[in-house]
């Protein structure tokens, strides 16, 4: 296990598809068939219009760093200081995550920088979607 000790999710019927997705290295969102709203976290209806006609869609995994703190206190499964971040997916929704393959400093963690999803297995059933900086081409 990459990071033993951290809190792990227990899927519910409404969220199982999301966690099945991350296990298969896919970041799955949902999109309303009626009003086209793309949303997260998962639920079997659209939070914008209430329609139950929704589809699961695969996200690009591309995002930008929206906001964060760098936590300096101890936490199970983490070595402080570590950033607790929120990223904004290219599809619109935001999600909490960690930024990996990056120094956990204000200088390295620049708001609005491009990040992309990486999938980090925790157990046989749970894989977490984390994000890493997209290195500039050149």
């Amino acid at each position: 296990m990459a990071t033993p000790g951290r809190a792990l999710p227990q899927p519910t019927p409404e969220t199982q598809h999301f966690w099945d997705g991350t296990k298969a290295n896919q970041l799955l969102l949902q999109c309303c068939d009626e009003c086209s709203k793309t949303y997260f976290p998962p639920r079997p209806f659209c939070p914008a219009c209430g329609s139950r006609k929704v589809s699961v869609t695969k996200a690009s995994g591309k995002a930008t760093l929206y906001s964060y703190v760098i936590h300096h206190r101890p936490a199970p499964g983490f070595t402080p200081p570590y950033a607790i971040a929120v990223v904004e997916l290219d599809e619109g929704p935001r999600m909490m995550t960690n930024i990996v393959e990056c120094e956990q400093t204000p200088e390295a963690l620049v708001l609005d920088m491009a990040v992309e999803v990486v999938f980090e297995p925790q157990t046989d059933t749970i894989t977490l979607p984390l994000f890493r900086p997209v290195l500039a081409k050149g």
Partner: protein, 381 residues
């Protein structure tokens, strides 16, 4: 709801605040409730409505205190629950559901006596989509939106630190405040890092305590020994239990609904406000509150505070008890903000604003999850 028809007639905090090792959480509720009853000359048998936000529940409080209620409210939406209770209680009194309502709060936030932990369940939305990424409670959750705010409006860490400096000035005037020694911006910026950009002195303290309010109709309030504090307007709202899912990281939707609702109901403008309380679990909360309640345009509150407008002698006295940053904070702070508004309206606050007639008291619940606003006046209807 028609305004000015309900008043606070009893108000008190627990006998002690700070570290209280001789009372459980339930005992803190009772201590505050008995103090509030003594404040206005009532007995438990005079109370016919009860509200609390605690694990203790209104059922337990009614039993423990010896109250037979015709109205109960266990609304528990975090630290602003008490503002919401005031709103619900005022409506209940208006509707004739109860005549004399007690709102209690007790919290063994520091000593944790009779205060069982409430872990985040791994099947909850928070447990699935936030907790795995390492947040450890409010200091590393409530603070997450602020970096986006700071970038959007060019606010500096020094300006955020000023919030704590100014509130300590108010606390220095309050013998009941936990921290009373004056501090400088450097003191704040050199204090221990908790969750960058937040340092220790930008975070609320953790204490034990409680408070209680007793409300009745404005008409009956005249017969009580205390100076009535009338409820001019109230508001409430909710946004999301997940801070990561706030619509706008620079503004609270719950604030933007609850605050203006209360102002409309009260029929007042911002110019009419003599005294303001904004729940400050962390130093960014007064900044968001000043803007989302409409006192200032977006992006201007940090500079407004740094320019001492909310400090002693300033045009808009804010968090005059010292706030959650310096006065006390047992976990759900809203009750203590309400108590300070009532003291200011009664004219008995340690740092009394001379001639104050209208006080706005604004609370937050959870991490920008919910909100409640109460506008008080000491002017008879």
């Amino acid at each position: 709801m028609p305004h000015n028809t309900v008043a606070v007639v009893g108000a008190a905090e627990t006998t002690k605040l700070g570290v209280i090792t001789d009372l459980s959480q339930l005992g803190l509720h009772a201590d505050a409730a008995l103090n509030a009853m003594a404040d206005c000359g009532l007995k438990p048998s005079d109370i016919d409505g009860i509200a609390c936000a605690a694990q203790e529940t209104p059922v337990q409080l009614a039993h423990y205190l010896g109250i037979t209620p015709t109205w109960i409210d266990g609304t528990a939406v975090g630290g602003c629950s008490f503002m919401v209770h005031v709103r619900h209680a005022a409506a209940a009194i208006e509707a004739g559901l109860a005549k004399t309502i007690l709102i209690t709060h007790g919290e063994s936030g520091k000593s944790r006596i009779g205060a069982p932990p409430r872990p985040v369940h791994p099947q909850s939305l928070n447990g699935q989509f936030e907790q795995p990424f390492g947040p450890m409670g409010p200091p590393s959750m409530f603070t997450i939106p602020m970096l986006r705010y700071m970038k959007t409006y060019g606010v500096t860490e020094e300006q955020v630190a000023q919030v704590a400096v100014v509130q300590r000035e108010w606390a220095s005037k309050n013998p009941r405040a936990t921290f009373r020694n004056l501090i400088t911006t450097d003191d704040v910026l050199n204090s221990r890092m908790i969750a960058w950009p937040f340092r220790l002195l930008m975070c609320c303290l953790v204490t034990d305590g409680g408070g209680a309010l007793i409300l009745t109709s404005a008409e009956r309030a005249k017969d009580f020994p205390t100076k009535p504090v009338y409820i001019l307007g109230t508001g409430e709202s909710a946004e999301t239990p997940m801070v990561s899912q706030m619509e706008d990281f620079t503004s609270s939707r719950a604030f933007r609904v609850a605050g203006p609702t209360a102002f409309r109901e009260a029929g007042i403008t911002h110019k009419d406000v003599d005294h303001l309380m904004i729940y400050d679990a962390f130093a960014h909360l007064p900044i968001y509150g000043l803007e989302d309640l409409g006192f200032l345009p977006k992006g201007e509150a940090a500079a407004f505070i740094a320019a001492r407008n909310t400090a002693p002698g300033g045009s808009l006295p804010l968090n005059t008890n010292g706030g959650g940053l310096s006065y006390m904070h047992s976990g759900m702070y809203g009750m203590y903000a309400l108590q300070e508004s009532v003291r200011q309206m009664r004219g008995i606050a340690p740092a009394q604003i001379p001639g104050a007639k209208i006080s706005v008291c604004h609370g937050v619940g959870g991490m920008f999850a919910a909100s409640g606003t109460v506008i008080f006046s000491n002017q008879a209807p």
